[in-house]
Amino acid sequence: MIGVGKPKQYGNVLDKPLSRGRQEVSLSAFAFLFSELVQYNQTQVDNIAELERRLEDAGYAVGARVLELLCHRDKGNRRETRLLGILSFIHSTVWKVLFGKVADSLEKGTEHEDEYMISEKELLVNRFISVPKDMGAFNCGAFVAGIVRGVLDGAGFPAVVTAHFVPIEGQQRPRTTILIKFAEEVLRREARLG
């Protein structure tokens, strides 16, 4: 019969239950949307730095929301108060929800105490993008760097996050590294918490 089994219509979005997750979006739809996002921003700016900053800001908004949603839905209402805790949260939970797999590696920087790196062989957002030579070191991974910065900032760990290409011998496409440099206050607080 017509109408039987129709899903319940909610009047307001606040009445709808939070979705359980497991929502999958087609890769081509996402790649198309992302390419349009980059192209739109390209028309609005004059230089590369500005373009990277805009992509990062777009990612920041996503990151802040992802943090709240995942802690509420997947982590049973437990916050992260330690540095290593929030880094492993990003490296596994956030990456798994956004990209379907955990990040390839999480490393601590050797030269500086406040630097950490998350590396990925092939970042999902960069998969279908080729950067022309005249754009130099531009990396669309700035969007993902923005997401990471949003998560860290929201949780109270202000940091400067950037995306870099790291060429690897024996591979055609370079590896992408997200470099996280924490602010002074984060290290001081970590030392104080022992």
Partner: protein, 136 residues
Amino acid sequence: MTTTACFIVVSKNDIPIYEAEVGSTVRQKQEQAHQHQFILHAALDLVQDLAWTTSAMFLRSVDRFNDLTVSVYVTAGHTRLMLLHDSRNEDGIKNFFQEVHELYVKTLLNPLYLIGSRITSAHFDTRVRALARKFL
């Protein structure tokens, strides 16, 4: 049983983004409402220190003023849900906070909502007051 209760939501940057008097005493004098808000803001320092010592979200009672207690619930994004009340019903308060947290997450997921700005939705207001009547 008449209860006094003042509920505010404070963002990460210490700006109140939502406030409501949710006690069942209907006629609150204006000075009392101001006093409630003052007590809650004064408790923010204590919340700040306490929030970094535990990974739980529900921090029980953090401060006292005469016979009123301040209870706080901190979300992952350091948004504080603060309640000033005179009842002793801890379980009810915890459930209230959890329900409001879910409402807050739904509000946050709106991409057009600027995080840290005031929550102006009338529907949100109605839901919070209904939850307060139910749990407090």
